[in-house]
Subunit: 149 residues, 2 copies
């Protein structure tokens, strides 16, 4: 599966989240050509404090042996926050495809310092989704990144 | 609420987890004398990849304004893994009480480098729970910290 194909699945998740009234951030995890699963930010939908795009994806995929994570790539529509950065490190996922990091610049430098390969696509669809969402819901966005509303 | 009282609540959660067949790690979050909530590792109980002690606690507490996290202390029976370290950073929780860091040394240095106060109690009950659990369940423990089984 190419980075573009994996990111396209993450974008589809983000769009599904937006359609549900949620924060439009999605993620997808693959091992080579095998899709392991997808997820999306479900703070609003589930009233959750920990279901970001990447963590929802990891939860949907379920418990895996370390050997599977070690060969996996995770795509996320937005640069990962500290929590999702930590989840990627916990499981030793060696490669992260980031849709965009203009809206929010997360733990990319820390990931790289810990040996993770980070590829930033700078995708226009990802940026437009977040721009539209934040313009309409500034307080919800601030809550999602731990900032005062 | 003192650090000892908050850690005692986290230990009670860890014991409840052990009684359910789970990994005996618990957490508790308070703002001054107000207990916000508790949680425990529920990897086994929920088949979860993201419900560690601290993240389960944050999820049980639910969505909070940044101002509440900013005045909070989280107690955890075991030094926080990378994911839980990141969750603490995401929400700007300024103080962490760690039951023990002998069994596992997590993101304490990184938390301190980001301005979080970390207090290590070195509690014998916490160490004994993990020692007994790991002796009986080495593979489950390795899965929990992202290591090969």
């Amino acid at each position: 599966m190419t980075d573009e194909e994996l990111l396209a699945l993450a974008i589809a998740e983000a769009r599904a989240g937006a359609a549900e009234g949620g924060i439009p951030i999605g993620a997808a995890l693959a091992q080579g050509d095998r899709l392991l699963g997808v997820g999306r930010n479900r703070r609003v939908q589930l009233g959750s404090a920990i279901r970001h795009g990447e963590t929802d994806c990891l939860e949907n995929v379920g418990r895996l042996p370390a050997s599977v994570y070690a060969g996996a790539t995770i795509a996320t529509t937005l640069s990962p926050c500290d929590m999702c950065t930590g989840a990627i490190l916990l499981y030793g996922i060696p490669r992260v495809v980031v849709g965009e990091n203009t809206t929010f610049y997360g733990g990319e430098d820390y990931l790289r310092s810990r040996g993770v390969e980070v590829v930033v696509v700078d995708d226009e669809q990802c940026k437009a989704m977040m721009r539209d969402f934040i313009a309409a819901n500034p307080q919800l966005w601030n809550e999602d990144i731990g900032e005062p509303g």
